[in-house]
């Protein structure tokens, strides 16, 4: 961000920090800068070692022909941008990029946002018991370990006695094999809607009731209230929500637990693609190049998000 934006954030925060006082105090705790830096250091060292170094390493690995085994494992050679050009030419990679886009659009931007908002909106008015039952279920789907929920869905969608087929009278349909992308999109909507629901509930709670009431007094129906009063208020939340869940969905590894990318790459989203190529297939250099592309996409989404946060403060 620009320096001016930075300064604006700081002065705003200081103005709020101590009403009446002119400037935020420099050292409220009486720690002294050296001691304060000493307290931050251990955390920073770990972050540096296990986040910054790996991120930087993708660049190095990405421009070599490093492999897990064989000659190149002992003596990797510099190959320049070969890995990147190879990736762009690789139909499997382009397929994976396309599937990832579908996955993010379908399960995050459409599925989780719509379901999350619908839940937040309807749960405001239902009896407390119904509300807490629904919320608990949606939240459990979110916080249960991924390998458990993955198996629950493997069982649920199984062609060999799965519950879904039993209910739909479609015995024998192997959903994960016949409709792998649709399956993981529905699965991820089920898994991740809780976040949008919580965020929209908080946002709707902050819409001033007086504005809704004056809209109702003016004769606005439910739809008009939504459009004219609610949406303008929660526009920022919608954007935050979209960015965050896109980021998480983009980086989600759980499709691997359901389909492992199969059948025949049909559900191989980018994280799964990297795993299969680099750690399963041993092409570390090539996998790193893809990782680097992924980091770049993350960076773009994160920059949008950070800008949004700063504007809001």
């Amino acid at each position: 961000m620009t320096a001016t934006a930075d300064r604006k954030v700081r002065s705003n925060r200081e103005a709020g920090a101590r009403a009446g006082g002119p400037v935020d105090s420099i050292d409220a705790a009486g720690l002294g800068r050296a001691r304060a830096a000493g307290l931050v250091a251990p955390a920073l060292v770990l972050v540096l070692a296990f986040l910054v170094v790996p991120a930087a390493w993708t660049v190095y690995l990405g421009v070599t022909d490093y492999r897990l085994t064989g000659i190149q494992a002992a003596n990797p050679e510099f190959v320049g941008l070969d890995n990147f050009t190879a990736a762009l030419a690789d139909p499997d990679f382009r397929n994976s990029l396309w599937l990832t886009l579908l996955f993010v659009l379908g399960s995050a931007i459409v599925g989780q946002t719509v379901a999350g908002f619908a839940l937040a909106w309807t749960l405001r008015t239902v009896p407390k018991l119904v509300r807490s039952v629904v919320e608990t279920l949606v939240l459990l789907a979110w916080i249960l370990p991924s390998s458990i929920v993955a198996f629950l869905w493997v069982a649920y969608l199984s062609g060999d006695g799965g519950t879904l087929n039993a209910m739909l009278q479609t015995s024998g349909t192997e959903w994960l094999l016949e409709h792998p992308m649709a399956s993981i999109i529905v699965f991820n909507t089920w898994r991740g809607t809780a976040f949008s629901m919580l965020l929209f509930s908080a946002a709707l709670g902050a819409v001033p009731p007086s504005q809704l009431e004056s809209a109702r007094l003016a004769g606005a129906g439910a739809f008009a209230q939504l459009r004219d009063v609610v949406l303008p208020h929660i526009r920022g939340h919608v954007l935050t929500n979209t960015l965050l869940i896109s980021l998480w969905t983009f980086n989600d590894f759980s499709p691997y637990l359901l389909t492992a990318g199969g059948p025949n790459h049909a559900s191989e989203t980018l994280p799964v693609f990297i795993y299969n190529k680099a750690l399963y297939g041993g092409q570390l250099g090539y996998g790193s190049a893809i990782s680097f592309i992924m980091l770049l996409i993350n960076l773009v989404i994160a920059l949008f998000y950070v800008r949004l946060l700063r504007e809001r403060r």
């Binding site: 009403a19 009446g20 006082g21 105090s25």
Partner: protein, 364 residues
């Protein structure tokens, strides 16, 4: 018990923001001293610098005979009551009051006894086992005071002591604080932006603006003879009447009263140069009966009840607004023509820089 001496104190924040600008002041031993001013004038910074929470950029602070300028807050033997009281929410009232003693490594039973004694003095005995969250604002304030008293400091520092109380409690707390300060006899400095609070409680008031003291004096000095237009505007619950005028050869000319000789009478003390001036008097120090050397004729626009008195606003023919406070029941009708006459000896004249010109009390 100790006096506080501040010499040439300067506080500059990073980014060249000067909060305190070469300030000198002495707070007498045992006095109740108010730092008064609008927000951002540096009064809170001054208090925090005395406490040691801010480091002075220049100058010195002495408490008693000790130069404390470079001492840590804990070594200055001062106690501070914060605006939000800063009672530790996880400790009971007893533990809160005893906290300074815990730092001084006083034994547990002695601490509890001392806390009970201090609490009793402030009427807190029934509340000693509660936590701050279960207390009213007034009770919290008394706990904060008890905690400050428990460490028997040389100096009390109070940051906006009444601002967290509701209006009714505030009046009670004023009386209570003033009596407590007199009983304890501890030198006390408090910060406030509310001039009525300062006038009511303090022995001495320092009115501050932009990191400097604009006037230092007793409440009555400051109320009767503000040293400059800033103080004149800031002090008083009804705004001071301020009218443009001119001095020509020692003769004061104000609006429609051009060339009235009588005004020149009683001009004593320092020589008054010719030029633009501001003529000021308090609405409380004027009448509507039109008697006196200086009379402003005007038409009554509004009357507002202040309870036992009424604020009358009149407008003179040349458009100046003049306000006067009259006893209830004696206010003129709206539309009536009245002669507003400041009481003799209550008219203040400020020069073009806004400094008080009339050092004698007999103008006109």
């Amino acid at each position: 018990m100790a006096s506080i001496r501040i010499d040439g104190l300067t506080k500059v924040y990073p980014g060249d923001v000067t909060a305190i600008d070469g300030l000198d002041v002495t707070v007498e031993d045992g006095s109740f001293f108010a730092l008064l001013g609008p927000s951002g004038c540096g009064k809170t910074t001054l208090l925090r610098t005395i406490a040691g929470l801010e480091e002075a950029s220049g100058g010195s602070i002495s408490i008693g005979d000790r130069d404390v300028t470079r001492l840590a807050p804990g070594d200055r033997n001062v106690a501070m009551v914060f605006q939000d009281y800063a009672l530790f929410p996880h400790m009971t009232v007893t533990d809160n009051i005893a906290y300074p003693l815990r730092i001084k490594k006083v034994g547990r039973s002695e601490r509890a006894a001392k806390a009970a004694e201090t609490g009793e003095g402030l009427g807190l005995s029934a509340l000693m086992a509660r936590r701050p969250g279960e207390l009213s604002g007034g009770q919290q304030q008394r706990v904060a005071l008890a905690r400050a008293m428990a460490c028997q400091p040389d100096v009390f520092l109070l940051d906006e002591p009444l601002s967290n109380l509701d209006a009714r409690l505030r009046l009670e707390a004023r009386t209570f604080l003033k009596r407590l300060q007199k009983d304890l006899g501890v030198t006390t400095v408090f910060v406030t932006h509310d001039q009525s609070e300062a006038l009511a409680m303090a022995d001495q008031i320092a009115v501050m603006e932009a990191g400097r003291i604009r006037q230092l004096g007793t409440p009555s000095e400051i109320f009767r003879r503000p040293a400059n237009t800033f103080v004149a505007n800031f002090i008083g619950s009804t705004p001071m009447n301020m009218l443009p005028g001119k001095l020509v050869g020692g003769v004061l000319q104000v609006g429609a009263l051009e060339g009235v000789d009588a005004v020149a009478a009683g001009w004593a003390g320092r020589e008054a140069p010719d030029g633009e001036v501001t003529v000021a008097f308090r609405p409380e120090y004027a009448r509507v009966d039109g008697k006196g050397p200086l009379v402003f004729e005007g038409t009554v626009e509004t009357t507002e009840s202040l309870g036992a008195s009424v604020l009358v606003t009149a407008r003179t023919d040349d458009g100046q607004r003049v306000q006067v406070v009259v006893p209830e029941g004696e206010e003129p009708e709206v539309g009536a023509v009245v002669g507003v006459a400041p009481a003799s000896g209550r008219v203040l004249v400020y020069d073009a820089e806004g400094e008080l010109l009339s050092p004698s009390s007999s103008v006109p």
